[in-house]
Symmetry: D2
Subunit: 418 residues, 4 copies
């Protein structure tokens, strides 16, 4: 008799296939689950394999549109970034997948969920905190943290032996000396030879973005229109013909294609995992690099200075840290998320950009509805609506503390220095 139904996040790779077989051996019934978040994947083959191993059912959920609208665009609105440079392609996908997996678990009557994440990474945390918030009574089976499992499968040979014994087909393609995670926002590379942070990644590692050196010699121009901080239109030229896309997923994919073919969006960093280990990662984050840059630029034109400063100091880093740490479904993240909308009401306008061999070059920006920028007012040559004498007063008030500080230093026999 079954110990109950488990919904397993099944990538179709060796590890999760072994886990599937092991869960069956342990007496569970298994529903194999996969989320389509835009990764390159043979879903049919994965289904066939899961069923062959013994899964009761295979469910693949297409999350691509939700991913763009509910997570990626808010991330663009808030200029999300972790440790200065990582746009969090992996972290952003996790809540979408966790939500879809719990939905499947509930629909299929599973009391537990399972995944193949290792015990040292961020993803186990991101998934499981999501699971517990979405379904507080769920049981999580994390084989790579269960001594019964990880002591039995201590090396790759143990996995292969078990696969052979269970008749699980093993892909014969030589495995790459690093691991990857892909979705429509990015691909990551880590582990293996990348663990030496001074080793330059080999040219053939990079998969999605054209090497800047190989990118076209002719720049490509485009324009992105934002409404309340969300990209709603992207126009460019292809084969001499003007193109325009406006559906959320289309805009995102067009941004992705344009950035990829022009070498935009590769990074290589050593980052801090939530779990207090540092790790080296390389990422190809084409669409977010382009959209974030355009969004930041437009904000210069249309976002109030103080709102921007408050948002930059507080909302952006907090949002980013919580997202990275897997706190998407938490009171604090909901609190932070509620601040995005109010910060973006005026972020309406268009940015024109040029892409060239890895560069995102701003050509100009404009807004038909917002009034914060006024060339006449800013002009050094104009005195309209503004008396230079006002500035004297402004400085005089600021100078009160400056003078006192200088006097205090003098009184104490100290000197202000550079």
């Amino acid at each position: 008799m079954s110990k109950g139904k488990v919904c397993l996040a099944d990538s179709g790779g060796l590890d999760t296939s072994i886990i599937l077989a092991w869960l069956l051996e342990e007496g569970y019934e298994v529903v194999a689950f996969m989320a389509d978040v835009g990764q390159e994947e043979d879903f049919e083959a994965a289904e066939k394999k899961a069923i062959a191993i013994g899964a009761t059912k295979y469910v693949c959920v297409d999350c691509r549109e939700d991913f763009v609208k509910d997570v990626l665009y808010p991330a663009v609105q808030v200029n999300a970034v972790y440790e200065d440079i990582y746009l969090m392609g992996t972290a952003l996908a996790r809540p979408v997948i966790a939500k879809a997996q719990i939905d499947v678990a509930e629909k299929e009557g599973c009391f537990a969920v399972s995944h193949g994440c290792t015990g040292k990474g961020n993803d186990q945390i991101r998934f499981e905190l999501g699971f517990y918030a979405l379904k507080p009574d769920v049981k999580v089976i994390a084989p790579w943290r269960d001594p019964v499992f990880f002591e039995r499968f201590a090396g790759r040979k143990d996995l292969l032996d078990y696969a052979a014994a269970k008749g699980i087909p093993v892909t014969q393609t030589k495995s790459k000396p690093w691991s990857t995670d892909e979705n429509q926002a990015h691909i990551s590379y880590e582990a293996g030879i990348l663990e030496d942070p001074d080793t330059t990644p080999p040219k053939d590692m990079w998969k999605l973005i054209t090497d800047p050196e190989d990118a076209p010699d002719t720049p490509e121009d485009l324009a992105i229109v934002f409404e309340k901080g969300v990209p709603v239109k992207l126009t460019y030229t292809e084969a001499g013909a003007p193109k325009e896309v406006t559906k959320p997923l289309d805009v995102f994919m067009a941004a992705s294609n344009l950035a990829r073919r022009n070498g935009v969006g590769r990074i290589d960093i050593v980052e801090d995992r939530y779990i207090n280990l540092k790790s080296r990662g390389c990422y190809e984050q084409a669409p977010l690099t382009l959209l974030r840059r355009a969004h930041v630029d437009l904000e210069g034109l249309v976002l109030d200075k103080e709102v921007r400063y408050l948002r930059d100091q507080f909302v952006t880093p907090t949002y980013s840290r919580l997202m990275y740490n897997g706190a998407y479904f938490s009171p604090e993240f909901d609190f932070i998320k509620s601040m995005i909308g109010p910060s973006q009401t005026s972020v309406n306008g268009q940015v024109r950009l040029r892409l060239y061999k890895g560069n995102v070059i701003i050509l100009g920006r404009s807004s038909e509805t917002e009034n914060l920028y006024d060339p006449t007012e800013s002009s050094m040559d104009e005195l309209t609506g503004f008396s230079p004498v006002d500035t004297s007063g402004f400085i005089a008030i600021q100078a009160i503390r400056a003078k006192k500080y200088g006097e205090a230093k003098k009184a104490k026999g100290e000197k202000l220095t550079l």
Copy 2:
């Protein structure tokens, strides 16, 4: 009889020459002052001109080394940046110049200082707050905010007429349709045709940095060594021969040359002036772009995660905002400055980089002295010194709040969504 000595910041340009003549006419004695902060300038011609107009003396102070050591390197240490992208080349030079001008004023017995800044910009504030802190009893003469002056010289024609009347030589070179400010950290372009934020700057505006499209087709590699966050060695290859520089100014200038010739460091933004106006600026900030990027990368390897987060959320934006707003000589800036050193004790190591047509590509990083990164520990394949079971406990504790949140939502009949 003289109304007293005034120390005038004299760029040698039309405006300050007129101001010099006008101060003399007003009955002051004038000491002309210029700071060499690395700008392209004919100091001899400026001296000759100032003396010809009637300055008692001309003093040029070489601030280049102090500028690098006391201001630019701390800015690198703290990853200073304003509104996401502007590295504040202009703002960083102001305290150095203000300090030098007050030193000259005190040495020469001047009771007042004067400058040619307009009444709508940031620089007047930066200079004057510095003046008042450094010499609380100083009198500041700001002609462009004095109705007597600005009403008399309401247009360029008034200036030219006055110059003719006073015999002040006017350079016949056609004036550019924008204004610039240059020093060894950067050059800025603003005003004129740039006041339309949707106008793309003409190709021939850019002066210091090679257009990425015209930069060499062959990448150039270099390595930068940091000690306590300060770049202390830069190695690269020139004409096939290895080069190494270690003196502060040399390292900075080598970084500048390498970045400039490879198209690194151009930006175009709409920024928020302290004075609550938005303004459009284009900047070529070659050396800071390169050094900042390398510094940020090294921090990934050697800086504690929590120190970094605290520094990033608090010190960097506060330092940057205060610097931009001209608060260098203030209690709050001294307070923030005191945090840079303690954040950088572990920032020791080397970053290897590649420059290519506007791209700064990280090739690798290493440290001989710091221990935060440990490939074995981070490796997903190793369990050394770390039990995956620990992570279960870590997640369980984090999950307490996650479950409660899910339960609370359920109890209130609400649903967690993306």
Copy 3:
């Protein structure tokens, strides 16, 4: 012919009566305006006086309910406080008054507004920033900053002479050696003998709150119910009979009366004005002291820890600073205000308190709807739903950085000390 209509904020005191007369003399038509924000005031006498001097009309707007609902309760929700202790009774009233004055100005067809604030205080800024945001084309007449006015009325004698000449009645009550500002949230005392910060205020200065030494010897108990952080019910006992109030203004006034008669809410501070001067103020802030204390206590029971921390570090101080500085009608304040609601959804419950000679003592708190506190779970004696082994894992993950830090110190020959 009139130069146009001016709406003057007329307190009925000497200064504003003089200003009224002066505005008439300058050729304006004047609408006298007063806001009832709960201050002790003879509105009829003020009206009579204004009309006698020559005002076209006198308009008094009752703002008491709006003040409580729209400003004071949000301030309670966000635990507003300036410089650790000042609950900002004056600042909180300003937007209410500014809004009412602009409404009157618009209704009465006034092109300008005027006030009697001095040139060194916060209030001029608070009023005027409100005026400009609410009616960007308004003209503001601030006589105490207009040399024509302040040079003419350089001392009290000048004011009295002018009053005599114009037939303006002057109250013969000996003026107090300090100035005050009162509304239903508080009364302030400043200037005069209080300008020496080491002078203890005389016992007879304090007006609203019973001296703790004179307060009843018997404590008084009460209970306050909050919904979404807003006090919605207050119960207490009076003359042996249970009392219950639930209307916003009633709850506020009951809290005020209870706190006042039990000596709760006096403070004495040196604070920083927006205008960069320090100033000494004494305040009686009875109702806000009591409500804030109860609200903070309830949050301990029902507010998520991380939401609280984020709100405390960011929202509360930013809200308070902006409110103090008069930025109520600004993009950044609207942004911050939008964060209050989302932080308070769970702040539902009751706090029981005891008032005794200046003390606010918490007796207990409870919530029927929120689940964050669970005595069984917290109990050291219970292991329900929680394995102590989990904590070992939690500590192990935290210890990764601790050990590395200890090792790094050892490796560098340094020692960790207290």
Copy 4:
């Protein structure tokens, strides 16, 4: 043969005596350790008991002076406070004790340390993170998280049975229905009947501070002198005679005695443990309440406004959260600690206070060395060194954004409201 030496933090109570016996039974040699941090304790009896049970040695370290100088005074300097009201008396003592215990462990050649903390509290974390940083190779034995131990001793009866079997004397005093932790900064009460957060603590629970209702009817005045934010002199009157104390420990103890006898420093809260549980605690925090209040008041007079704001928003809450969470010996705490000194250079002066039945009333404050407060300058009646016209300019610059905001709202057909 011994499994090695363990240094056990031995309070002399039932739990740690059982642990001592159990460690011996497990084959360890035990050095019993106790820190004197000012708690009421019979150290001799504890020693006798430990030796009787079988400890090799008993070491009591007097930490009282270090506690005051190295931890409590920095906490006063930084105005440390957790969740608005808890002054963290327990948390502050932990690093002092951990440091002393590791010192003893190293001196006595112990490879391990042990403690009797439960698995749900904060203290286990505070101690252990300290242990690991101070001695990264230390082994920590935490019996209450070890299933072998906690399953054996599942109830109080098991402990008593074991005590009887091992001949461990058990105090016959009826145990209180709550637990306490005491040191010279405070005493805490939690658990037992206090677990119901709506239960008012019984009058006889409170031990150190006189009930405000029972405190003297006559106020008591005192004065505290601070140097760089540290209290260095306290003067008061006792039995009609002036008293003055200046040694760090003496000042602290005098503050403690004065506050205790006047009913100052009791609180009752529900707080958030690091471990994500809420818990109810009552605290008597007499000396820190008094010293913090005086320190905050003096800062109003002598601390620059912007330094204060930065410190308040960033340093104080971060310091407090890290301290509460046990991160004292960590890179981030060292970073934050380095900011205290630079914030306190000007905090020099005297505060005069009155204590009365639970109230701390400020009588006045003064400084002989600092110049930030200038009564003439602040005076509304004086125009010295300050032109009211300057304020007009200051407001005009601030009003630029206010007007734009009002205009933008109008243009969009929206209205600014309260």
